[in-house]
Structure formats: C-alpha cells, structure tokens
Symmetry: C2
Subunit: 436 residues, 2 copies
C-alpha cells in the first residue's frame, strides 16, 4: 500500500502543508505513536481496535455461519458501525452467496426486502453491542415474525452478535442461538476486523484469515515517524490540512465496489474526529462517476477541501471493441481499465492544477489482504489524527441526546417544543401558520 502525499504539500496547493511543517510535526507523531502503542499494550478503550487482526478468532465466526446453513441469504440487521464494515468487505470482495443489509427503519425498505426474500432459505445476523439499539431491534422483531409466519423456526436461522450482556445476550441464551462477541473496548466504527465485520464475509466464503493478515501487515507498518508509516502519514497530513483550512475530506475511490468503503470512511472520520467544534466533514464521491458531478466544484469552488483518491494497481481487463464511428476511434482497441486509469490521472492532475490538495492511496489489488490493509490503515490514520487534534476519538457523546429524545417521543413521554417555525407552502394549510 502506498500513500502519495506530494499533491498535499505547499508546492502543490495554497493550503498544502510545507515539508518543514511535516518534519516539525514528526516529533508530535512520535509522542502520539508512543501513546497509541501504550494503549494497545493495555488494550485500552479504542486503542484495542488496533490489536484486532491478531486477536480475532475466525473459528467461532465460521462455526456460527455453519450453524445457520443451509440458508442461502444472510440479512445483517444492524446500523452504523454494526453494518458498514461488513457491507464494505462484502462489496469490495468477490464472494459467493447472497448477503443483504437492513440498516434503516424505513418501513418501505423493510417491506421491500421481505417481499424480495425467499424466507425459507433466509438467515439473519442481528448486530448490536448493547442489544438495545432501537432501529436494529425493531427490524429484528419484524423479520423474526416474518420468518415464523413463513413456517421457519427463527431459532435455527439467527446469529446474534452482541456485547457481554443485554437483551440480545439474554435472547441468545434463552434460545441457544449462536452468539458472537462484539469485542470489548472496540467502538463499532473500528470493529470491521472483528466478528462484527466478518460474519457476512464468512457467509460469502471469503478468506477471513487473509483479510486479517492484511490488517496485520498494516499493523506492522506503524512506526514512530510519519515518514515510515502510511497510516500515520495519512492521518498526520489530514490533520495538518484541516489546520490549514481543508474542512472537507472528500473520499473518492476509483472502484465501484469501494463505494461502501467511502461510507465506512465517512462514519469513521466524522464520528471519531467531529468534536470540540472541529472535525473535517467527509464527502463521499466515486471515480469516475462523480467527475461528472463534483469535479466542477472541487476545481472552481472554495479551496477548503482535500480529496483522497483511492485505486487498486490491478484491474480486470475489459477490451473496448473497435468502432465504425470515426469520432470514437480513439476508444476502439483500448480497454476500460486504461480509460479508468487515464481519468484517474487526469483528475489528479486537474485538481493539482486547480490548487486543491489531494492524497493518492494505492492498494496492490482488491483482494482480501488489500482490503484488510486498507481498513486498518484508515483506522490507525484516524486515531493518529485524533491524537494530534487532542479529541476523544473513541466516544460519540453528541448522538446520545437525539437517541434519548427519539425514545421519549416514541414512549409518548415527551413532545417537542414549538420552535416558531417559518413555513413556505405550495398548498398552505391553516395549521402550518403564516408563511409571512
């Protein structure tokens, strides 16, 4: 894996980082790296995530998946970090078997999914550390009922992935369900390389050990200098760019199957670093598609972004046939992968020409090792950025108020105050007040 920083430096962009600043930061990186290593050794909350590749046992994961066979479809019911890691891995890698995700409480989505499934061959993996996540549990209750209505014994078809206690743990004990552990001390968004991220991968027959080996390779490349560690190079440069005005972190993989990776990154970055009035806002993009959507803004809008361009060095070959249309003759006989790589390089160059900082991340190929390495690298980068910014990387206190309010509203214990809203209606109704 390679992290190319050249286009994030001061010679490339007005908000780029002077080399001398990076060199000066390297002392703080060394101190932060020591803090991280100490946290890992003591398996402290959050830092424990960086030990996952070594500590994750794949045997119980494979056994749980075997227990719900011969199911042909696995629905992962979870939300946020309980779904995104698994979705990222199964999308990026080419497995067998049908895996789906129920990660919202939109009744239309749940209804559509249920209508689309053959329930007689469907199993579920319900994922919630606390065992109380409202969205996840509500969906689980609905799907469990549907399985029962379809004549399926849901206890033969349910894996539970949860913490050491809570309602889901109780349920698994009462019904003797296969249960996997959400690792202690690992926040959901850092749990991709544990059972949380790997059950769906196992169901698809993917090589869990190779994924974890990729993570371990990344773990071994951590060092006390940003100039020797891709993860710390990325995290430090992103931190330095934010300090210089890059308040937006666009993540733009050039591989369709990495779109969920961009979403996973968005959660990792936003929820870990969005604190104390700071934190870059992730913007998900997809190359080359979003060249036709976001590139105009990136090049001609405010210089307040860094764009991370991700690509695999190896791609499938799909030759472009020769054509009778003269204007297109330059395409004929080429290959889609050549076109995609040309667009990658042209976009990178065009952003540099526009003075916007970019960072290029290349993985050798989109295989199990490559994905494990990529996910671990981003997690370690995020932790480094959090150390340098001096925020509490592993908590998410600001979402609690909303969760409690939603629960109160649902219980009918609370109603929201009148906010004096100003409404402009195409079809004004009396109870919406005066649009003026």
């Amino acid at each position: 894996m390679h992290v190319h920083l050249g286009n994030a430096l001061a010679e490339a962009s007005a908000i780029g980082v002077p080399r001398s600043d990076l060199e000066a930061l390297d002392e703080r990186v060394a101190a932060a790296a020591a803090r991280i290593e100490a946290g890992r050794e003591r398996s402290e909350h959050g830092y424990a995530a960086l030990n996952l590749p070594k500590n994750t046992e794949t045997g119980p994961i494979e056994a749980a998946v075997d227990a719900i066979r011969p199911a042909e479809t696995l629905v992962t019911i979870g939300i946020g970090g309980s779904a995104l890691g698994a979705a990222t891995i199964t999308s990026a890698l080419d497995g067998d078997g049908d895996t789906r995700f129920l990660d919202n409480v939109d009744p239309a989505q749940t209804r559509t999914l249920l209508a689309d499934l053959d329930l007689s061959t469907t199993a579920v993996n319900v994922v919630s550390r606390s065992g109380t996540t409202a969205e996840t549990l509500a969906n689980f209750l609905v799907v469990r009922d549907a399985l029962t209505d379809a004549g399926v014994d849901w206890t033969d078809r349910t894996i539970v992935t949860t913490g050491q206690s809570g309602p889901l743990r109780t349920l698994s004990e009462r019904h003797d369900l296969p249960v996997l552990e959400v690792p202690t001390g690992v926040p959901g968004r850092f749990s991709a390389l544990s059972a949380v991220g790997l059950v769906a991968a196992a169901f698809e027959g993917l090589d869990l050990d190779a994924i974890l080996e990729g993570g371990q390779t990344a773990a071994e490349s951590l060092s006390d200098s940003l100039f020797e560690s891709p993860a710390y190079a990325y995290g430090t440069t992103m931190y330095a760019l934010e300090e210089r005005g890059a308040s937006i972190a666009a993540m733009m993989p050039y591989a369709e199957v990495l779109e969920p990776f961009a979403e996973w990154f968005s959660q990792l970055w936003a929820e870990s670093l969005g604190k104390d009035g700071r934190g870059q806002t992730p913007a998900r993009a997809l190359g080359v598609t979003d060249q036709h959507s976001q590139l105009q803004l990136y090049r001609a809008g405010p210089t307040d972004k860094v764009v991370t361009l991700v690509r695999p060095r190896e791609r499938l070959s799909v030759p472009i046939p020769e054509t009778e249309l003269d204007a297109l003759s330059y395409l004929g006989g080429r290959d889609l992968r050549t076109l995609m790589d040309a667009e990658f390089e042209a976009t990178e160059a065009s952003l540099r020409k526009a003075g916007l900082p970019t960072i290029r991340i290349e993985i050798d190929s989109l295989d199990a090792e490559g994905i494990g390495e990529l996910l671990y690298t981003m997690e370690a980068a995020c932790i480094m950025a959090g150390e340098l910014a001096d925020v509490e990387t592993f908590t998410q206190p600001a979402v609690e108020w909303g969760k409690e309010t939603a629960r109160s509203l649902l219980r009918g214990e609370q109603t929201l105050d009148e906010t004096g809203d100003l409404v402009v209606a195409a079809d004004p109704e009396p109870d919406d007040g005066d649009p003026g």
Copy 2:
C-alpha cells in the same frame, strides 16, 4: 410541498439568517425571479429547463420504449446528469420491470453487470448529448458487442438519447434506431423531467404525465417573493446561509428510496454553484442510518453546515410485534413509521439544540406528482441561488481540462509532468522515490 425555514433563522443558529435579512433579500429575489421568467419566455440556455414539464412530450418516450419490447431489463448507459435523474425517479417510485445503470467505466462493474444480465431479454438506452462522452460510448461499445455475441440484434434493442448531431445521432440514423432528444438549452443536471430522465421510468410503467404534472405544480408556485414560493424560499435561504458560513450543504432524506435523490441534488448543487471560488459542498446523508455516522460531527463539529431534512408525510405501515424482552417493550406494538418519524423529529430538534441550521422539506407522499414537484423545486431553487450568487449556473467549464487530458493520455499524445510526488510506501519500490 412545504419548506420549513424556522430552524435556519438567526434565533435558531449563530449562522442562521435574521428574518430582516430575508425580508431585505426579497427585493433581490424579485429581480432574480423576473430575470428567470424572462429567460423562460425566451427559452434561454438553462432557464429553458424550467419549461420542461409543459414541453416534454411523453408520446415519443413511450413509443421508443415500446419499440424495444419485449425486453425485460433496460440498462441506461450514461454518466452524471445522463443517469442520475433517471436513477432518482426509478428509485423513488415503485415501478415494474428491471432497470439498471452503467454509469462508470470500472471494468469490474461492467463485467459484473454483463454476467448478471440475461442478454436475450436486455435492451439499452445510451444517453449522451454530444454523443462523444468517452465513458458512455466505451460502455456502449462493450455492451453492444456482448449483445451481438449473445445472438441478439442490438439494433432491435437500442434506444439512443442524444442531441441534434454527433456520432450517436449518426448511429441512430444509420441503423434506424428509436432516438429521443436531449432538449436543447437544458444542461444534463436539469434534464430529469425530459426524455433523459423519463425513459427508464416509462420502461417501469410509471406515470410520466403525473411526474410532469408534479413539476408543473411546482412551476406554478414560483413567484416574485421568497415568502410565497417554496423553491425560491429554499434557494434564497441556502444562499444566505452560505454567505453566513454554511459552506457545506448536507442533504439528508428520511426515505431509503431517496438516496439517489441526494446524489442528484449533489450534482445539481455542486456543478451549478461551484464557481468563482464559492459554492457549498454537498454532503449526502440518509436518515436514519447516518444519524449513526454523521450526527456526532453535525452536532459537535464546526458550525459550517446546513442540513436539509426531507421526508414524505405519508409512509407505509409496518407494525413492530410485541416482544418478550422487557428492555424492548417500548418498541412492541409501535410501527416502523412511527419510529422513523420520531427519529426525524428528534434529529431535527437535536441539531437545533446544537445551533446548526436545518431546513425541513416535506412532500405529501412519495408518488409520481411528489417526485416531479420535488425535482422541479430543487432545480428552481438552484437557479435562484445562482442568480443571487451571480455565478454562471448553467456551465461547467472546470471539468473540461480534465476531460481533454484524459483523452490525450488515452491517445498517447501526452504524459503527465513529474509532480515531485512524495510517496510513503509500506513496501517501498525504487521507482517511487525517497519517502523522506
């Protein structure tokens, strides 16, 4: 349709807009509205988009779709505005038939799609105004070849949607293909309510006239005051918020099927308004899922955003079964839609409490009229924001350099200059230079 502005005002947020500022802006809105009306009357470039609902003839669209029957799958080959409108409409509405999109040049995506299709019952709609878009034409050449290899006469199964001249126009004439017009004077990102956005909808049997009627309803609600027009209320408030520091426009629909709408909005907003060193950066989010991903940042990060919350007023009912688990008893007997709406309201309230401006958009329901109205409203809002910001809303000059560079690279006419890149490699290679 209702646009609720109360939480975007100064009493709700430090970067909110004082009511007096909105009142003062209303004079400029009147002038801009007059400019827009004049542009519509003369069908000027761009402004012509606002006449689409009336000017779009659905007969030729239906006829073109009939001509490629009995195909059971329609692949739209297009990129950016040539795909996003169609994807938004078919995702939002519940049609029959199988529609797919090929909107990237990732060889793995193209290969996977081809492997997944029954080519004997597949048709394509190739969409490019110029008829020269490299990504679209390359994919078309590949798919056309695959159809031929599968023994299908591609000329029986191809709709062309293009401008009045160019290679695709030539092709359609040579092979007598059904051809639809990309309307003159309408940029791709404003073309959802034309053949560009409606062919896939017609293939799914959706009610094109109802979609256009919804657009027309929105057209009729334009006025010379922001206080009387939802579209201009939204566009003006977004403009005023950008002036006050909301450099990020998060678009967060609370409906899974509106995820492509958030992408469509992102293109519309970024490519139209990202100019002259200004323009909000769109961030796509999805309620409730991204509460578990982005909400921490929105609440506790920088106050540099406005979050647009979109929801339908009507939802399907999916009851949540009663449960034996005590801790979850507050869920049992409720409904997924009640949960989703409680989360919507709690999130809105929690953002207000955190001092971040939000705008709530409500459509009556996710039906053909509602979607037509929503798309038109956002287009008109964008045009108003562009008038107030005094940018060239309808051009995208900054993407041209990259396109030409990609073409030159592909033709081998050009190589990129050495950028003096700084590379940090886990497995350093000699040709990547010194990471120090």
